[in-house]
Symmetry: C2
Subunit: 871 residues, 2 copies
Amino acid sequence: MANFVFPFEEGSAEESDLLGGKGANLAEMTGMGFPVPPGFTITTKACNETSRREGLFPEGLMNEVHEAITVLEKKTGKVFGDSENPLLVSVRSGAKISMPGMMDTVLNLGMNDAAEKGLAKKTGNPRFAADSHRRFVQMFSDVVLGVNHHKFEKTIQKKKESASVVEDTDLSAEDLHSLAQEFKRIAEQETGKPFPDDAHLQLEAAIGAVFNSWDSNRAKKYREINGIPDSLGTAVNIQTMVFGNAGNSSGTGVAFTRDPSTGEKIFFGDFLMNAQGEDVVAGIRTPREISELEKESPQAYKELITLQEKLENHFCDMQDIEFTIEDGKLFLLQTRSGKRTATAAVRIAVEMVEEGLLTKEKAIMRLDPNALDTLLHPSLDPKAQKNIITVGIAASPGAASGKIVFSADDAVEWVSKGEKVILVRHETSPEDIHGMHVSEGILTACGGKASHAAVVARGMGKPCVSGAAQVVVNAKAKKFMVGETTLSEGDVITIDGGTGEVIVGSVPTVPAHLSKYFETILDWANDIRRLQVRANADTPADAENARKFGAEGIGLCRTEHMFFSDERIHLVRRMILASSLEERIRALESLLPYQRSDFEEIFTVMNGLPVTVRLLDPPLHEFLPKKDSEIKELAGGLGLSFEAVKDRVQHLTEVNPMLGHRGCRLLITYPEILEMQTRAILEAAISAMEKGVKVLPEIMLPLVGVSDELRFCREIIEKKAEKVFAEKGKKIEYQVGTMIELPRACAAAEKIADYADFFSFGTNDLTQMTFGFSRDDVGQFLPEYIKLGLLSADPFETVDAGVEELIKIGVERGRRNKKNLKISVCGEHGGDPESIDFFDNQEFTVVSCSPFRVPIARLAAAQAVIKKKNT
Amino acid sequence: MANFVFPFEEGSAEESDLLGGKGANLAEMTGMGFPVPPGFTITTKACNETSRREGLFPEGLMNEVHEAITVLEKKTGKVFGDSENPLLVSVRSGAKISMPGMMDTVLNLGMNDAAEKGLAKKTGNPRFAADSHRRFVQMFSDVVLGVNHHKFEKTIQKKKESASVVEDTDLSAEDLHSLAQEFKRIAEQETGKPFPDDAHLQLEAAIGAVFNSWDSNRAKKYREINGIPDSLGTAVNIQTMVFGNAGNSSGTGVAFTRDPSTGEKIFFGDFLMNAQGEDVVAGIRTPREISELEKESPQAYKELITLQEKLENHFCDMQDIEFTIEDGKLFLLQTRSGKRTATAAVRIAVEMVEEGLLTKEKAIMRLDPNALDTLLHPSLDPKAQKNIITVGIAASPGAASGKIVFSADDAVEWVSKGEKVILVRHETSPEDIHGMHVSEGILTACGGKASHAAVVARGMGKPCVSGAAQVVVNAKAKKFMVGETTLSEGDVITIDGGTGEVIVGSVPTVPAHLSKYFETILDWANDIRRLQVRANADTPADAENARKFGAEGIGLCRTEHMFFSDERIHLVRRMILASSLEERIRALESLLPYQRSDFEEIFTVMNGLPVTVRLLDPPLHEFLPKKDSEIKELAGGLGLSFEAVKDRVQHLTEVNPMLGHRGCRLLITYPEILEMQTRAILEAAISAMEKGVKVLPEIMLPLVGVSDELRFCREIIEKKAEKVFAEKGKKIEYQVGTMIELPRACAAAEKIADYADFFSFGTNDLTQMTFGFSRDDVGQFLPEYIKLGLLSADPFETVDAGVEELIKIGVERGRRNKKNLKISVCGEHGGDPESIDFFDNQEFTVVSCSPFRVPIARLAAAQAVIKKKNT
């Protein structure tokens, strides 16, 4: 009874756990009666056993292998090491999940002097036979024996010199034969053992080498990065060699059942006549378009066309097929689901539904929502040359080029002169917003994916590379350094917020384009998803974008950004520096009309959809200047002394602003701000309503940790609302809710729910507090953490397991009080597919993300529903 | 059947819920046959009912009262409003828990013109009768009718002028009688209703007024602050008046069964002959010492001596007794447990055990551990005058005077010249440690009870006032301002860290003294408590202090303070600014001998007791200078360019250092620091062991949030340990554990326990992260929060309920993995009695606090055990 070895006839595509992906598909094709060179698979179990036994094969393995070879000899009429009709095999790794380039392969195994003779005789092509011999010894020595390949390359070079030829292909059969012999001597010298001529010994060693390669450092690293468990192990596929380089009626190629770039349903691929797979890969000769194969090998082409269609229909996915033609006869060496661009993935999914190959649900599950992000932002032309100087954190997708500037004011000035700029900062703060708005993109030395720069940039749909730790910014001197390179104001750089690349000079970009296929997928997703998808939007322009991308409301409208434009910041500063309550109220009264008109515009754009307005969140010092020169100017403008303003700035400065006097703490200690904002929202709502707009305002308190904070604020809001309604003689419905963004709020959620019409998890801050990470400072160690495998992902990107625990507690306790409590998320994670799956599982009501992520969130929300249904 | 009214004969001390504290004790004394003027109590139930009925008495209440009055008339032979022998009563509130000064009292009720006549006849003292009348009308009008008392005072003044006398006591019976009439007219003018002459109407109104006073704003506020539930309600005591002012054989006084200042067992008190209680309180006449009463009223004195002893023996506590002598006859008007100083409390508790009045457990429960704090630090002489300019947060107890300085370096310089200094800073940082060490005390404008200044000061046992928000520090100009007052370097101030007072000039202090009574209590506590009590100690001196106060080990030895002394900081900076790994390792190697010798000294002091060493915690920038001038100097010293050092300083600067690159994050990214510290600890331990010291080292990782962080660090520690052991040819036992100070660590505690020999909750940081509060910045709003009642206590002082939730999760999950996991707390809360009760309930193994809190923690730990046993 076979334990570890399965002939291709015995397996199926289902058995990829045991046979690996390649082996399972080879078995499937064999079972379908397709022309697959006969062979067998050694199971992943054998690999794992060997690993457990520290390199020692499990008992009986080689016996099974020898038996399988005997069967193969009978089936093919060839014999291992035979001088008449030698059996040659390929030995290839094949894990369940493909790990391209990570694992080892040996071709032409079974070759020795006798077999060379036999192959020469059989093919009538001694040069081909000698070359196959030479290639085998070289490959085996490199992969199995670990001999440095430079030695062989040097020897070939010498041989070419002594034969006075330039190309390998000009070497004669004799040259190649003697090269094979010389290679064996080199191997013997290097390893201290004679090169194995016996085919069975070769095979045993090659299997061992493939098993070993599973535990190589690079393979381990690859699995760590890609989240592939070490426990899978690799299978080994032993397959009869077929030769695409056996003459002019032979050839080899790679083909896709559809165009992997566009997704169009056309047969697509390359081939080379009289060549082996490695020639195609090595790029020495230029492959030809697959359609030309019809002329070269009409019979094989016809068969290939039929087979590829059958394969796609069978696997219900675009296939990536390797084939070889030996003497006019077609062989399939591999089929697998083909990699494709995001554009292609969407089109293929939609068209396969139309063709009846997939259900809508399966089509939706096929897509990786994260990969679709590139479709929503311009991207670098993939064909362009790039002079990459450093790679930071890919913080906001899209790509942009521009002249570098080092301050928000400079950005505004340069742009006003018609320049395109990239804003380069050590880090950004809300004071930089006006500069960020006009810039093409943002580069910061500090901060992670959830740093201020990153969050704001994503909200604006602008590219951002953050946490480029090698970048040393000298804003004063208007330059930055990366190692030896220094770039100054006005120099052009390009940033790719999808990869984190920082590039010297301009690189052309390709614009975003929402295809009809994408629209179709999103329509289907809408029918399936349970979660409401809203957008985080602070301006009427953001709101319009949000509607365009299908948002069903605004889940987070931050009010602080409204405070930064020129005429307003002056009033805000006057408010902050007020020496009396009366003076502060006067300043707030001047701000009121601005806020009110902002809100009215947003309500109008969102007509009929809910808008959650978050009240003032950042600490007051963020609105004040820091430099003495600016303080002096401000003091002059306000008619105050420099010292008075300086003292106030210093007094407000905080050691840890993230943990400071902000959010509802500010509204509680300055209730007049809360009153002004409440008035602005409600007056705007009434005014919009009077113009026929349907308004659904939701007022949200930030940074609530204690239920009494919310009670206190809610009482003030309700009192002010009654006053506004009385003044206007009109009432409107509104809700009051709270952010849940502090661990304490999760713990106290049951009590907090007493005063909340809704919860909205602020997962950015919640992640910061739960980890004790500052998103602005995390760049100093988070990349190292991910490299060391201490964290599997950036917790500001995908909700971390520990943060999930707190969210679960918050949801459970909140709903314990109010069974149907509306629960939302408005942190960055609201647009992350993996996190959306978690939110759906926790029965959230709403996810809210930046407008540009809305399509992705819609898709991910549908996937979450389907996933749950399937389990 | 009586519902709401209980004569004193029917109640007992047990019934304070229903009868209030005063009523219950009056009933108890009546039951004991003591001379209590007869009376009855209206229950708290009646008060609550009235409150529920919005001021309307419950049905039948006044009927019961009238019946009780009839009984009283029979018992006393007096009659309400009688012109022969009038019954006069006092009406006093009496809640279960005493609320001094909060509630209303009416004396002499039942008085009118007829009663005045009767009283004059009965006592033969018309002036006394008229004065009693006048006093009653005045008091009733003020308390019950709400008439402004200024009107009465003005009228008295006029009367004195017209009678040409200076003192009230010089007014004649006629004067007083006509005053009473004038007062009634004033009351009628003010209220629009005639003043009630009918005694029953007076009584009804007075009862209503007392009930009402329970719901007055000041009473509500008092209850809120003192955590007294509103639902208790107040009882009302109606008692026959007796008159200490009825002549020279009458008198009144207050006495304690022991000396409330020292606790000494002597009868202690004051009295005045021919006076009423209010005369004693008002301080118009100087009371006489109680022992002199023997001469004045020997019979009453003898009886008083007997009764006071009986009362103390009966209530098993020092009693505070009010008595009146009417015509030589002694009456007791009140007895209750007396307030006492901390010194007295300890002595009384111990001596009462020796006298057999209390069990040891009851004696321990009698003490308020927080109140004992004053016994461990010098305190201001209570008799001294104080010019208080502001009150900040009472951050570290004790009092000190000194000349003000504004930098740590100045502190060192002034002290080296023999001056005593108070260090005044906007806030302190680890760089200030050397200055804090030499100062008498610390004053900061910023930060709460858990700010750097506060924590370090408490650890050093130095007084600290933090968060004095009105203090504006101008360190450059070496002065600070509080409102209009400006103080400059060298001016003397006094700070009281127990009250938060900042005082201009020097105030004499009284030194701390650990009495033999205190030692006895602590010995008893040791026999009872379950929690191990350790100290947080960073230096051999701290460690010695810790042992002196009975610590059973060091629960937290911070290593960063070891980095700040002059020769070391240079090496630390060299390490931080190293441009290569080699250079950094060289700098660390130079630091190694210092750390090693620190540890060896500490291990030696703690011989036989465990020492938990926390590895480096603060971010690196805390060790670097901030000012350009200092950077220049540092660069020169290290042979580096100013720009290079400045760049590095800037690069390391963090937006939120509390959430930054610190704790184990630092040790993971710079494993060479971890290796050096491990080596220093283990080499020190081996070296101490070789000298015969018993060493129990515990290595603790700070700021672990993810289990793999601990695994990673533990692996490095174990590898390094093996190396050290091999080099030394000796092994020692050591443990590796982790701080639990991040919400994520609580959530992930089960996994973290895989790699931890112990947990130590860092409740300071855990509170910061759970709330999102920075202890350095919280001063801007936390006082307001407590004032508004949004938080009932400073969460950095007593563990907050929300933080408790996270701790519970951490403990439960940690022990789910390791049933007997050692769990400790080393945050400030380790010395807070209320928090210690929580830790004991959660079955913590250890609490660790600053050395000066160790006695308090020992006591609180014993109380926790007793409390649990009693429930």
